[in-house]
């Protein structure tokens, strides 16, 4: 066993200090130490995207980030995007457009989609498909996921314009 190191993370706006072995993966620290179980472990081999979180403005697969690498970073998970009383536009869009069936991939899908729309607020359908290509879904066939992301983009753009 290697030495533990002091890790400081900001997770969903809250400072977290913990001792961890550097080899621990970010997904394990989130789920098992911080009890943040929204990001899921699907393949654990950086293919499926179920563990996607936002780290300093980047969508990352938290199964392929050592907690030591993330030391000092700001992390947002699905838990950090809204409250149960006031869902995020993307969460409403997924509900409205049936963008999920079993729901296992959904936290990763929505977390990724938020960053995608941050980088590209008005994507085409092709850009949504390309930008979501790191997230796998075994239920929906993707049609309704793409529809949900496009609908959320339209709604978010309209809200931005109304605010200006």
């Amino acid at each position: 066993m290697s030495k533990k190191m002091q890790i400081t993370l900001t997770v969903n706006g809250e400072a977290q200090d913990l001792l961890a072995e550097p080899r621990e993966l970010l997904i394990h620290v989130l789920r098992e130490r911080l009890n943040i179980t929204g990001p899921h472990i699907g393949c654990e081999t950086s293919h499926c995207g179920a563990c996607t979180v936002t780290m300093d403005g980047k969508s990352v697969k938290s199964c392929t980030v050592f907690v030591a690498q993330a030391n000092g970073a700001s992390i947002t998970t699905i838990e950090g995007i809204s409250t149960p009383d006031s869902l995020h536009v993307l969460q409403n869009a997924f509900r409205e457009h049936h963008g999920l069936q079993c729901g296992f991939c959904t936290p990763g899908m929505i977390t990724r989609a938020i960053q995608l729309l941050e980088d590209n607020p008005n994507p085409t359908e092709e850009e949504v498909r390309f930008g979501m290509a790191g997230n796998l879904c075994r239920c929906t066939g993707y049609q309704n996921i793409v529809k949900s992301v496009l609908a959320a983009a339209t709604e978010m753009s309209a809200a931005r314009e109304a605010a200006e």
Binding site: S2, E44, T45, S46, G49, S59, V60, V65, G134
Partner: protein
């Protein structure tokens, strides 16, 4: 999947990183984005008692365009390559290739330095760097040296970089003329079954110069001078393309694996090269 235990280092200068490599010798490895190394460590196919994370060394970042010379720090990510307007203008083939690497999440983390230094025959950037005639800057205890991409790759995962050196930057000339990076893969995120990087220039109705490199069709990238020569002086018509395909076929050495048998890979390599030449020529 938990990797073996290691000590983690995050030096904030290149000198400190080189010092750690000196101190720990074979027990140490540097890591850029980690998206090749971490999966190997998780599978315990790589054991790294001392992991040196390069993320805090600001000197390894940044894209600079100085006249006709482009320089990318080793820690520039594939995502940054895709988003950089100046780079897309000065060498658009780089963006075209980066968009075909892995998936969005991996491209936020994966770096050009890691991609070229790892020596994985499946990586796309080594072949592209050979096509571009890039130079790699290596810094070690004895100072700085430059190695041509075309002389860098010795065998799978074996390169001209010595264990105590760090690849710090990549430089290459801005491109003119037509370009194409064409890649056949089984699915998004997969390595190439075959990929081709093609740069062409035109003078009047004929091809004035050409550079061609192939990916994942040998244990090293294949820069095929003969394939390029088959195009120079021609109008890149069917006959010329067939000649280039035949010359390329003589230079590659694919092995059978889960992407298919040798005959299939040779077939796909030809199709991909033919498409890449046509597309590059249409852009001249």
């Amino acid at each position: 999947m938990i990797p073996a235990a290691f000590d983690y280092h995050r030096p904030d200068s290149l000198q400190d990183a080189l010092g750690l490599l000196q101190t720990h010798g074979e027990d140490a490895r540097v890591m850029a984005g980690g998206h090749s190394l971490i999966p190997m460590m998780k599978l315990r196919m790589a054991e790294v008692p001392h992991l040196i994370d390069l993320q805090a060394i600001t000197g390894l970042r940044g894209i600079t365009i100085d006249g006709a010379t482009l320089r990318l720090g080793a820690m520039v990510t594939q995502h940054e390559i895709i988003e950089h307007a100046g780079l897309s203008c000065a060498a658009p083939i780089l963006r075209e290739a980066a968009l075909q690497i892995a998936d969005p999440q991996v491209r936020y983390m994966g770096t050009i330095g890691g991609n070229v230094a790892n020596g994985d025959p499946g990586n796309d950037m080594p072949g592209l760097m050979q096509c571009l005639g890039a130079e790699f800057t290596l810094v070690g205890p004895d100072g700085t040296r430059s190695v041509a991409a075309r002389a860098f790759y010795e065998a799978a995962y074996m390169t001209a970089r010595t264990d105590d050196e760090i690849l710090t930057a990549i430089s290459f000339p801005a491109t003119t003329g037509g370009y194409a990076y064409e890649k056949q893969k089984r699915k998004i995120g997969d390595y190439a079954t075959a990929a081709a990087a093609v740069l062409l220039t035109r003078k009047g109705g004929t091809c004035a110069s050409a550079s061609i490199a192939m990916t994942n069709l040998s244990d090293v990238p294949v820069w095929s001078e003969a394939a390029a020569q088959a195009l120079v002086g021609t109008a890149c018509d069917d006959t010329a393309i067939k000649a280039a395909m035949a010359a390329m076929d003589a230079d590659i050495d694919p092995g059978e694996d889960n992407r298919g048998p040798v005959a299939f890979k040779r077939h796909v390599a030809g199709v991909i090269l033919s498409r890449a030449i046509s597309r590059a020529w249409s852009r001249t």
